[in-house]
């Protein structure tokens, strides 16, 4: 599904944010990428959704080398992905419904279908009762769940999440992680960056350990499906 070959990224001369990363993610996998701050977790995610280009290496997603995609074709790659950011990136002057529906509008989905899918996505994160509220009226955890609903509403093949439980209390973090597990069960490949050891221990199937841009370990836990 996602194949990374010798991926390296250098932001500044002599400083490697990532160095020689090789990883094969299979369809339906649930991966955690973990490591301390500055280990290159976010950089790796950004490279996968082609926000940034690596300095070296190749990435193949579903048989397509995404580094060879011309800029005007990147939107096709992004349509197959759902992305959750640590800072949520919600549009605060739009209601929860509109925030979640944004990806469906882009796809030109008819309004009736948009309503159905947005409702289902919000129900998945248990926020369907707050569909017509503004994000600013929601709690931190609820805003995070809106971001997750937005990422899953178009039923992406790949779900990428960057520290989705950062700053959440353990109970809420666990709740959100359960949502990711649920989405994963429906066949979506999930890659989550997190440094929450407790969460990884509890939910992790496959874990990639990064340190200073290098892979220092990979672990496939017994609970893993594969």
């Amino acid at each position: 599904m996602i194949e990374l070959y010798h991926i390296s990224k250098q932001y500044q001369e002599g400083q490697w944010a990532l160095l020689d990363i090789n990883l094969h993610v299979l369809k339906g996998d649930f991966w955690f990428i973990t490591g301390p701050s500055g280990s290159g977790k976010s950089t790796l995610l950004k490279i996968i959704f082609r926000e940034i280009l690596p300095s070296r290496g190749q990435i193949v997603i579903d048989g397509i080398n995404i580094l060879r995609l011309p800029d005007h074709r990147i939107y096709r790659l992004r349509r197959s992905m759902g992305i959750v950011f640590q800072d949520f990136r919600l549009v605060f002057h739009k209601k929860v419904f509109e925030n979640v529906a944004i990806g469906l509008h882009v796809l030109g989905v008819p309004l009736k279908e948009v309503r159905r899918r947005v409702f289902n996505a919000l129900r998945l994160v248990n926020l369907h009762q707050k569909m017509w509220e503004y994000p600013s009226h929601l709690s931190y955890g609820e805003q995070q769940r809106v971001a997750i609903a937005r990422a899953v509403v178009n039923e992406p093949q790949i779900l990428l999440a960057d520290e989705p439980t950062g700053n959440l209390d353990p109970e809420l973090a666990s709740e959100i992680m359960s949502v990711f597990k649920e989405i994963n069960k429906q066949g979506t490949t999930v890659i989550i960056c997190s440094h929450d050891k407790e969460l990884i221990r509890h939910f992790g199937d496959k874990i990639l350990f990064l340190f200073k841009g290098k892979i220092i370990g990979k672990e496939v836990l017994p609970s893993s499906k594969r």
Binding site: F49, R78, V106
Partner: protein, 290 residues
Amino acid sequence: MRDAQNNLWQYRARNLLSVTIICLSFLILGVFFSLSNNLQHVADEMSESMVVVFFLSPDITAKDLSHIEERIKASPSVVRVTYVGRQQAWERFQKNFPELQEILKNLGTNPFPPSFEATLQKGSFRSDDILGFIEEIKNVTGVEDVQFNRDWVRKMQSLSRLARAIGFFLGGILILASFIIISNVIRLNVFARKAEIEILRLVGATNTFIRLPFLIEGITLGILGSLLSLGLIFLLIELFPLYLGHSLGALQEIVGFRYLSLSQSLSLIVGGALMGVLGSMSSLSRFLKI
């Protein structure tokens, strides 16, 4: 479309400002077009019925009269010759300038000489041959003076061109200002929606999908501005004569405004839309790298 509508409403103060500036720019251009149209119309009317008046001696003999008439008729540039007798000239003056009747009465005598009015073929006044013909008739016995207002037509045409040039110059400067304003308004709107644009990019929106609302906003501002200016020009044309009254007399014709032609009106609207598109695009290409 809905996004564009929302943005137009959400940032209505700055959008209203840009519509006003666009409106004023096109108003200036339109007013000068209108003035120019009027001057051109006056020039056209003058040239359509371009008449050379040959004033005759009051005591001209019948033989000289018929000789002069034949000489005038012989010119291929003349389409019609009309004799205006002294009494007829008097009556015509009284009719055209009733306010000067008292002066005529005080004179006691009829000061108007008889004349031949030679109507020239359309466009023939531009030829210099006509001057030779006039000179020739002027030297015939019994002809005392000649009145030929060719220079007036030329002056009207020059004034019309001048009005248009001033319109283009002032309008051009203001249109450039409007372009910059539209560009900046769209830039502010892009900045205001930066977070949303970022999300749109991440959920796989195409460049066109992201840019279209801004382009629609620009076009709407441009068209609204130009339509408003057309409305104001219409009002100006309707109300200006009422404001002016009849004090200017014959000058009224020259100083008036004339409606813009359909092509001129459409040009203003299309110009507004085009300015909107260009203003938006210049901003999007600089501030919306996708």
